[in-house]
């Protein structure tokens, strides 16, 4: 018997996050081209999420294949006095899908522990775009029948492209 899909998953790690982000981006493009804008946004949100998570754990020094556990995600952005988000002065939302939160965590981590961005403009763009994506996207999109507006599809496409094209600089 062939193994079912979840049993074929590799361990979750930076390398897996980055590759899956590329795949979700491409799949989103196919959906958008076919007129399924909400589905496209749904997948692009995950592409942004995986890119931001990969960037954060890369800052922490993890290698491409080092396993990232659920406890690592909670320790980063969990709603706990012990999370890194709290340590950096954030008030974490408690959602591990919080795109604006991951963007903010990266910015605050770099400000406190470095390396800082070469230009302040890059930090502003990251805050603005992760905030935009966080306002537009939610993992609960799948529960709803709403159709996304054209400008929302275009906006999310631009944010996703920006994040993935600069994933190594985040």
């Amino acid at each position: 018997m062939p193994k079912p899909l979840p049993e074929r998953f590799a361990a979750e790690c930076i390398g897996e996050f980055r590759l899956s982000a590329l795949m979700r981006r491409e799949e989103g493009e196919v959906l958008a081209a076919a007129g399924h804008g909400t589905g496209a946004i749904y997948l692009w949100g995950y592409a942004v999420e995986m890119t931001l998570k990969a960037a954060y754990f890369n800052l922490l020094g993890l290698g491409n294949l080092d396993s990232i556990r659920l406890s690592d995600l909670r320790t980063a952005l969990g709603n706990s006095p012990a999370s890194t988000a709290s340590t950096l002065g954030m008030t974490p939302s408690g959602s591990l899908h919080d795109l604006a939160g991951w963007g903010q965590l990266i910015i605050l981590y770099r400000r406190k522990y470095g390396p800082s961005y070469l230009s302040g403009g890059f930090e502003r763009d990251l805050r603005r775009l992760s905030g935009y994506a966080g306002n537009l996207w939610s993992e609960t999109i799948r529960y709803h029948k709403n159709k996304a507006h054209r400008y929302e599809v275009d906006g999310m496409r631009r944010v996703t492209a920006w994040m993935l094209d600069r994933s190594s600089e985040l």
């Binding site: 800052l59 922490l60 020094g61 993890l62 290698g63 491409n64 294949l65 080092d66 556990r69 659920l70 406890s71 995600l73 909670r74 320790t75 969990g78 706990s80 006095p81 012990a82 999370s83 890194t84 709290s86 340590t87 950096l88 002065g89 591990l96 522990y113």
Partner: protein, 180 residues
């Protein structure tokens, strides 16, 4: 408008005591008890993650906790070592357990009857080894990062209270919890 001049941040005497006691622990690590300090080498060269589990963090603001740990390592291990620490996690035992960081818990058979004579002796022995009573003083939590550390504690507890049955339970976080 009222005039206000803000003083530079200074640690409280309690926070200074935390730093002193952490430095003492880093200089001469105890075999049992808190703080429970774990330093992990991670993927990239010379990068470390430091976890300091300590119930005395209770009431200490999160940003202050991390600075205390960095200052402690700086004092005991020096700048180069401290600069290699990319992540500091400071948690009380219950906070760590809630994050899924200390999955291996040591328990005795009948732990839900702490009022019995043997229950009292087991709980006392667990507290000696560093169990937390923050969540519930009647049910000390003795937790570890690794099964190996938990097994060592079990060996010691069997020596202290040989008539009790000791074991290790594991808490596994379900990825589905994240994927709801």
């Amino acid at each position: 408008m009222p005039f206000q001049e803000i003083e530079p941040f200074r640690r409280t005497s309690q926070q200074e005591a935390l730093l002193r006691d952490l430095i003492a622990e880093l200089r001469t690590p105890q075999t049992v008890g808190q703080p429970y300090v774990v330093v992990k080498r991670v993927g990239k060269d010379k990068v470390r993650h430091a976890y300091v589990y300590w119930d005395r963090w209770e009431g200490c603001p999160a940003p202050v906790r991390a600075d205390i740990v960095y200052d402690g390592f700086e004092e005991v291990r020096g700048s180069e070592y401290t600069e290699s620490i990319a992540l500091v996690v400071t948690a009380t035992i219950p906070e760590a357990a809630d994050l899924g960081l200390l999955p291996f818990q040591v328990r005795y058979r009948g732990w839900y009857h702490p009022e019995t004579e043997i229950g009292k002796r087991c709980n006392e022995a667990m507290v000696t080894l560093g169990a937390s009573v923050l969540r519930n003083p009647a049910h000390p939590e003795l937790r570890f990062e690794s099964e190996e550390d938990a097994r060592k504690a079990v060996d010691e507890l069997r020596r202290l209270v040989p008539e009790a049955e000791w074991g290790v339970t594991v808490t596994v976080l379900s990825p589905r919890e994240h994927a709801f």
